[in-house]
C-alpha cells in the first residue's frame, strides 16, 4: 500500500501544484477587485482571414467609440486555434477572468461561450455567425427580441439569393446550376439549404455534389460538368474555397463560369463574388459591444440578420464562355473597383490546314505554371483554334521529380509532336537536353540565357524560342521613386541557392544604382527564416521593401507582409497577386497569364512556317501595374494620382457601397 501511494505521489503532487498555480493566479485577480477600466474578452475560433477581418472590425469599432485599448479599456484576445476543447476551456477562463463583456467570433465560439455562460455571468455579444437562430443558444427565429437577456449579437447570412439574382441578370437563360459543398461545414449547409429554396423559386435546377476535403473538389466538379450545368456556384464553403482553382479548371473545360458567395473568389477566377463584408460585420458587432459597455440594455436589442454586401467582378472570366454573361450597368455600379481590366490583345489568326499535335510540360503544379497554361490555352481559343478539332494537346507534369521530367521528355521525343511548350526553367533545361528536332517554345523562364538556351536573346539554339518573364526592374525603380520620393535605401530578401533569385537580385541592384538608390539584401534558405530575415532587413534602415520574385519568397510572402505591416515599411512586389490578395501596396508584374498568351502567339508564328531560330527571345509583352490602396494606407503610403491612372488594377475595398 505504501509503495502504491509512493508511486502516485509524483502525479498527485504535480496536479496539486498545477491547481495551486491556477488558484494563485486567480487570487491575484481577486484581490485587485474592482478594476477601473472595463475589461473585454474577445473569443476567436481560428486564425482565418475572414475571422481576422471581423476581429479587426471589432477593434476599430471600439476605437471609434473612443475606447483605446490599454487606456480606456482592456481588451484580451483568446484564440482557440481550431480546437473545440480549448474553446470550452477558454470560455471558462473568460468566466473566471472578471470580464465585463465577452465578444465571440464564429459559430463554435458562440456555442462554447453561451454554454459556459448559461447563468449570464458576463454579457455576451456575438458576431460572424451565419445562423445564430440555429445555433441552439436560445435565440428565437420568429421574435427578434426573444433571447437570453445577457446575450445579443448579429447574424450574417451570406447573400445567397442576391447572388443567384445577379447570375440570372447576367445570363437570363441559366437553368441548371451546380454546387460542390462540404456537409461538415454548418455555414455551407445553411447556404445550400437557402440555395435550394432560391432555385426552386427561380425555376433553376440545383445539382449538388458533396466533398469532405479540398482534394475531392476536382472530381466532384467534373461530376457536375458531366451533367452539363450552366454554371457552378460556391456557397460559404471553406473547403471548396480552398480548392477553387480545381473547380475553375473543371468548368473551363466545358466553358461555363463559376460564381461565388465570397468576393475573394473573383480574384481567383470566379466571374463574380458576392459576399458579406466581414470587416463591416465586425464593426457592427464591435459597435454593439461598445454601446453595451456604455450602458445599453441587451434585452432590448433585436437579433437580426445583417449582411453588408460586397461584390467583386472579374471581366476576364466572362470571356470565351459558351453562353454570354453580360455585366449590366447595375452590376458594374454595385461592384467594387477591384475590377480586372478588359484586356483586348488580339493577335493575327493563322490557322493551319491539319490537326496539330502539341505537348505541354510542367515541372510542378504551381500558380505561375498554371497561369502560363491558362493564358496559353485561352489565347489559342481567342485565335480560333479549337481543341480536339484543330489541335490536340498532351499536358504533363513531373510533379517536382527530375527523373520523371527526363522520362517525360523522352516520351515527347518519341511522340514527335509539332511543338513542345514548357512552362518553367527546369522543364526548358530538360527539354534542351533531350529534344533536338522539335520546336521548343518556352514560357515562365526568368532568364533563358542562364538556362542554357543560347548565347543571347538573339543568338540562340535553332529549335528554341520563347518568352522571358524577367521582372521589369528599371520600371520598378522609376515607379518606386514616384511613389516614395524620399526613399534612399530599398531592400529585398533573396535565396543564394536559387539561380534565378541571385540573378534577379543582381539585376535589381543594377537598376537601383542607376536610379540612385542603395539596395540592401538578406539571404534566406528556408521559409521559416523569412519573417526574421525581413525584420533584420528593415533594421538595416530600408525605406521600402522591393521583393524580387523567387520560389521560396513567393511561398513565404505572407511572412514578409507581416513584418512589413508591423513596421509600416511599404512593400512593393513583382507578382500581381501579392497586391491583390496579400500585403503588397504596389505590384509591377510581368504577368504569367499574359506570358502564356505570348507563348501561344509565338507558337502560331512557328506553325505558320517561321523558324524558331529567327525569332529572338522576348519579354512578356505586357507589364501589369496593380495598386492596392488598402495596403498602401496600412503603410501610410500616398500613391500619386498620375501613378494611379497608369494602373491596370486598383484595389480599394473600403469604398464598396
Amino acid at each position: 500500500m505504501l509503495r502504491l501511494l509512493k508511486k502516485l505521489t509524483l502525479g498527485v503532487s504535480l496536479i496539486v501544484a498545477a491547481s495551486a498555480v491556477l488558484l494563485i493566479s486567480d487570487l491575484g485577480q481577486w484581490k485587485k477587485g474592482g478594476h477601473s477600466v472595463p475589461r473585454v474578452a474577445i473569443l476567436n475560433y481560428a486564425t482565418r482571414p475572414v475571422l481576422e477581418d471581423g476581429q479587426r472590425g471589432i477593434f476599430d469599432a471600439f476605437k471609434d467609440h473612443g475606447f483605446i485599448n490599454g487606456e480606456d479599456i482592456e481588451i484580451k484576445l483568446f484564440n482557440a486555434e481550431n480546437d473545440l476543447p480549448t474553446a470550452n476551456t477558454m470560455a471558462s477562463a473568460i468566466l473566471g477572468g472578471d470580464f465585463d463583456l465577452v465578444v465571440s467570433i464564429s459559430t463554435p465560439c458562440l456555442q462554447a461561450m453561451a454554454s459556459a455562460n448559461r447563468n449570464g455571468t458576463v454579457k455576451h455579444i456575438f458576431g460572424l455567425v451565419t445562423d445564430p437562430f440555429g445555433a441552439g443558444v436560445g435565440i428565437s427565429r420568429t421574435d427578434p427580441l426573444d433571447h437570453p437577456a445577457h446575450l445579443a449579437g448579429i447574424g450574417t447570412f451570406q447573400p445567397v439569393k442576391e447572388a443567384f439574382q445577379i447570375a440570372r441578370e447576367m445570363c437570363p437563360e441559366i437553368r441548371k446550376v451546380g454546387v460542390v459543398w462540404n456537409p461538415a461545414e454548418a455555414c455551407s449547409e445553411a447556404c445550400t439549404i437557402m440555395a435550394r429554396d432560391t432555385c426552386k423559386n427561380m425555376g433553376i435546377e440545383l445539382l449538388e455534389a458533396t466533398v469532405d476535403s479540398s482534394s475531392g473538389v476536382l472530381e466532384a466538379a467534373r461530376a457536375l460538368t458531366a451533367r452539363d450545368v450552366d454554371c457552378i456556384w460556391i456557397g460559404g464553403d471553406n473547403t471548396v474555397e480552398l480548392a477553387i482553382s480545381s473547380l475553375i479548371k473543371a468548368t473551363s473545360e466545358i466553358r461555363v463560369p463559376v460564381f461565388a458567395n465570397a468576393p475573394s473568389s473573383a480574384h481567383n477566377g470566379a466571374i463574380f463574388g458576392l459576399g458579406a463584408n466581414y470587416y463591416e460585420v465586425g464593426k457592427i458587432t464591435g459597435d454593439l459591444a461598445a454601446r453595451t459597455l456604455k450602458g445599453l440594455d441587451l434585452a432590448t436589442v433585436r437579433i437580426e440578420n445583417v449582411a453588408p454586401e460586397r461584390l467583386a467582378i472579374n471581366y476576364e472570366a466572362a470571356k470565351g464562355l459558351r453562353s454570354t454573361w453580360r455585366f449590366t450597368e447595375r452590376i458594374k455600379k454595385l461592384a467594387e473597383s477591384a475590377n480586372i481590366k478588359h484586356d483586348a490583345s488580339a493577335s493575327p489568326p493563322g490557322r493551319p490546314g491539319r490537326k496539330l499535335q502539341f505537348s505541354f510540360v510542367h515541372y510542378v503544379e504551381s500558380p505561375t505554371s498554371e497561369a502560363t497554361e491558362r493564358g496559353f490555352l485561352q489565347q489559342l481559343e481567342t485565335i480560333g483554334l479549337r481543341k480536339g478539332v484543330d489541335y490536340d494537346i498532351k499536358i504533363r507534369s513531373s510533379q517536382r521529380d527530375m527523373a520523371t521530367l527526363m522520362a517525360i521528355m523522352d516520351a515527347v521525343a518519341s511522340e514527335k509532336p509539332d511543338a513542345l511548350i514548357t512552362s518553367s526553367t527546369p522543364t526548358l533545361q530538360a527539354a534542351l537536353k533531350r529534344i533536338t528536332h522539335i520546336p521548343i517554345i518556352f514560357g515562365g523562364v526568368a532568364n533563358p540565357v542562364i538556362a542554357g538556351a543560347g548565347e543571347s536573346y538573339q543568338d540562340h539554339l535553332p529549335n528554341t524560342t520563347g518568352i522571358s518573364t524577367m521582372s521589369a526592374f528599371e520600371d520598378m525603380v522609376t515607379l518606386l521613386k514616384e511613389c516614395v520620393p524620399n526613399a534612399k535605401r530599398i531592400g529585398t530578401l533573396f535565396v543564394p541557392a536559387e539561380i534565378n533569385s541571385v540573378y534577379y537580385k543582381e539585376a535589381l541592384e543594377k537598376a537601383a544604382q542607376q536610379g540612385g538608390l542603395e539596395l540592401m539584401t538578406v539571404g534566406v534558405s528556408t521559409s521559416t527564416e523569412v519573417p526574421d530575415a525581413t525584420l533584420s532587413l528593415i533594421s538595416k534602415g530600408v525605406d521600402v521593401i522591393c521583393q524580387i520574385s523567387d520560389n521560396l519568397n513567393n511561398s513565404a510572402f505572407s511572412g514578409i507582409t507581416k513584418a512589413a505591416e508591423k513596421t509600416r515599411t511599404p512593400l512593393f512586389a513583382f507578382v500581381s497577386s501579392y497586391a491583390m490578395n496579400s500585403g503588397a501596396a504596389v505590384a509591377l508584374a510581368r504577368d504569367y497569364d499574359q506570358g502564356g498568351r505570348d507563348v501561344a502567339d509565338l507558337l502560331i508564328r512557328v506553325m505558320n512556317g517561321e523558324s524558331p531560330k529567327d525569332i529572338p527571345f522576348s519579354y512578356v509583352k505586357k507589364t501589369r501595374l496593380v495598386i492596392n490602396l488598402n495596403n498602401a494606407a496600412t503603410y501610410n503610403l500616398k500613391i500619386p494620382a498620375h501613378v494611379l491612372e497608369k494602373a491596370d488594377t486598383v484595389i480599394n475595398l473600403s469604398s464598396s457601397p
Binding site: G11, T89, M90, S92, A93, G134, G136
Partner: protein, 316 residues
C-alpha cells in the same frame, strides 16, 4: 476557481478517452486510429437521442454501444480479414466521418436547453436544498459546477474500478496476455483474434463514452470534434506512464487519468497567464515535454540515493 473546476472536469471526461487509448495502444500494442471517429460517434449518437428527448442515461449508453460497434468493425477487419491494424483503423475512422454526418443529419447538433446527464447532475444540489452558490475555502462556486465536477469524478471512478476488476478476471488476464505474448496465450487455447476484437470494442466504447460526455458538458456535438483526439489520448497515456512508471494495471489507469488531468491543467495555466494565443500549441507541446522529462530526473535522483545508501551499507 471556475477555470480550475472546468479544466478538471474536462480532464476527467477526457481521461475516459485516454483509458480507451491505453487499452488499444498499451495492452494490444496497436495504434488504433478509430478513436478519432468513435469519439465524435459517441457524441453524435448521444446528442441526436437527447434532442429527441430520450432519457440521457439511455442516450449515453447508446453512445458507448455505438463506440463498441465501431471497435468491433475495426477488430473484425484486422483479425478476420487480416488487414493491417493501422489501415483498418484508418478505414473505420474515415467511414465514421460520413456515418457521423448521417447520424446527426448536419454538422453540429446543439442541445443547450435539453436535459443531459450533465444538467441532471447540475440540478441535483438545488433539489437537495443546497444554496446556488457554495463557498469552499473562501471561493464562491456555483453549486451546478461543483455537481458536474463531482459527477465527472464519479463516472471516472466507477469506470476505472470496473476496468480494473475486469482486467483481473480470467477473460481480462487472457486479454492482457494476448498483447504481451500472443504465442503463449494461443498455446493455452485462447483465440487471440477474439481477444483483440473484444479489446478494441471496449477501447472504442470508452472513447465514445468520453465523446458523449464531453458533448453533453459543452452543450453540443460537432462532426469535427474528434479530429486530433487520438494524439491527445496518446499524450495523456505517455505522461501518465511517465508519472507512475511501470506498474500494474490499476496503478497505470490512475496514471493515465492523472496524465489527462495534468494536460488540461497545463493548458488552463497557459490560458490564465494570458500567453500569446498564437503560441498556445507550442506551449502545450513544451508542457508535455517537461512533464516527460521531470519524472525522469526524479527517477534518477531516487536511483542515486538508493545506490549511495547501498554503498554505505557495504561499508558497514
Amino acid at each position: 476557481m471556475n477555470l480550475l473546476l472546468a479544466s478538471l472536469t474536462i480532464g476527467f471526461i477526457l481521461s475516459l478517452l485516454s483509458a480507451g487509448v491505453y487499452i488499444s495502444f498499451r495492452i494490444f500494442h496497436m495504434p488504433d486510429i478509430t478513436a478519432d471517429g468513435s469519439f465524435a460517434l459517441g457524441a453524435a449518437v448521444s446528442a441526436v437521442l437527447i434532442v429527441q428527448e430520450v432519457n440521457p442515461v439511455v442516450a449515453t449508453s447508446a453512445g458507448f454501444a455505438a463506440g463498441c460497434v465501431a471497435g468491433l468493425v475495426t477488430g473484425m477487419l484486422h483479425t478476420r480479414f487480416k488487414i493491417n491494424n493501422l489501415l483498418s483503423g484508418i478505414l473505420v475512422m474515415t467511414a465514421l466521418y460520413s456515418v457521423n454526418l448521417h447520424i446527426m443529419g448536419k454538422s453540429n447538433v446543439p442541445m443547450l436547453y435539453e436535459t443531459t446527464l450533465m444538467t441532471m447532475a447540475a440540478k441535483l444540489p438545488t433539489l437537495m436544498g443546497s444554496e446556488d452558490v457554495v463557498n469552499i475555502l473562501g471561493w464562491d462556486i456555483s453549486n451546478s459546477d461543483a455537481a458536474t465536477f463531482l459527477f465527472a469524478i464519479l463516472m471516472i471512478v466507477a469506470v476505472s474500478v470496473v476496468l480494473n476488476r475486469f482486467f483481473r478476471t480470467h477473460l481480462g488476464t487472457a486479454m492482457r496476455a494476448t498483447g504481451d505474448n500472443p504465442d503463449m496465450i494461443r498455446a493455452l487455447g485462447v483465440n487471440t483474434g477474439n481477444m483483440i476484437t473484444l479489446g478494441l470494442c471496449i477501447s472504442n466504447g470508452l472513447v465514445a463514452l468520453s465523446g458523449s460526455l464531453l458533448a453533453q458538458y459543452q452543450g453540443f456535438a460537432d462532426v469535427q470534434m474528434g479530429i486530433g483526439m487520438i494524439v491527445l489520448g496518446l499524450a495523456s497515456v505517455i505522461i501518465g506512464e511517465a508519472l507512475v512508471g511501470s506498474a500494474g494495471i490499476g496503478l497505470t489507469l490512475c496514471g493515465v487519468i492523472m496524465g489527462s488531468l495534468l494536460f488540461r491543467l497545463l493548458i488552463a495555466i497557459a490560458l490564465r497567464w494570458g500567453l500569446n494565443p498564437t503560441d498556445l500549441k507550442l506551449i502545450t507541446a513544451i508542457f508535455v515535454l517537461v512533464a516527460l522529462i521531470v519524472p525522469r530526473f526524479g527517477g534518477k535522483l531516487t536511483h542515486r540515493k538508493q545506490r549511495s545508501s547501498h554503498a554505505s551499507d557495504t561499508k558497514v
